[in-house]
């Protein structure tokens, strides 16, 4: 079985087929996915800005990290659940889409990032609340987090702009000439 056949089998599961062919459910899932970016992406952004010592300075960094943690975890779970629906329903189109693959790799980086900075930053309230501001490690962690998350949402958006050359023999440009970008997306 080729990767293409496996992907087709996944996207053609009755459940994913129903999601793909529903008139309303698919856009609702997509909208919810984007709303989660707003609700929980904002928490990630604020935490990063707090670790960089530029936002919410009246609240100790350790408090911001600890209090937002359960919400970020919940948000990530909802986000992944919605994303599995979106990706699964169109998996044959997505599995070899370079932006989709980049996005998935970056999501792995989120996990690695959390592991790497867990002890030195996120579970280290004493260092976070030092009078001189969060330590250098916290600023590195925050910067990397911002870069990774902005890249994830950018790749997520770009998935829609990659036309699979396999679907269009003899036509391989990223976006076909004369395409009106705003209308069809």
């Amino acid at each position: 079985m080729s990767a293409d056949q496996i992907s087709a089998a996944i996207q053609n599961l009755p459940y994913f087929t129903a999601v793909r062919e529903s008139g309303l459910l698919y856009p609702v899932i997509l909208s919810s996915h984007l709303t989660m970016i707003a609700l929980f992406g904002g928490l990630i952004l604020l935490t990063d800005l707090r670790l960089l010592n530029v936002a919410m300075k009246s609240i100790p960094a350790s408090v911001v990290v600890a209090k937002t943690r359960p919400w970020k975890h919940a948000g990530l779970m909802i986000m992944l659940l919605l994303g599995i629906h979106l990706g699964g329903a169109k998996f044959q189109d997505y599995y070899d889409n370079p932006y989709f693959l980049m996005k998935m790799s970056l999501l792995v980086c989120v996990f690695i990032h959390a592991m790497v900075f867990r002890r030195s930053v996120y579970k280290n309230p004493a260092a976070l609340d030092s009078p001189a501001g969060p330590p250098a490690a916290a600023k590195v962690a925050a910067t990397l987090s911002l870069v990774i998350w902005v890249s994830i949402l950018s790749c997520g958006r770009m998935i829609a702009y990659w036309d699979n050359p396999n679907n269009q023999p003899g036509k391989a440009p990223l976006i076909p000439a004369g395409h009106t970008y705003g209308r069809s997306r």
Binding site: L45, K57, S58, I59, G182, S184
Partner: protein, 158 residues
Amino acid sequence: MLIPYDITQNPLNTNEWSFPLMECIHIAMFAMSIGTIAVVDFSLLGLLFKQRSPAEVLRATSIWTLIGLVVVVSTGMIIFTTDPLSYYYNWSFRYKLMALLVAIVFNYTIHRKVAMSNSSGAARVMTGAFSLLLWSSVVFAGIFYAFTEELPYVGGPN
């Protein structure tokens, strides 16, 4: 045509990267603006930063909300120029604009007042919940734009 304007000459329609780039900035900045407002809403609902007052959370986030709003509205207007008529003749877009206007006014009047005062539980909860719903609906309308049939053109070019 009242204003001579050819969308095919718009740099966003002639360059393959500029439109998606604008969208990415738009998404990142609505995460910042709506995300920071949502933090205040969570605080009003008593779900986040329970030891702090919503007033303190609002003061700590308001500048980031404002920066986000300025950039997200600006990039939104730039995106709008790529095909103004199809946006105008789309009910989802019309709803989005009205809801956005209401949401911004609400954010700087009632929402702000309730967050800054030590209002009662009910007023706080209602304000936080309404704000979350209203802003979420703006995001929903932004996505539904692409899934919505255009309204019939009235006196339009077609």
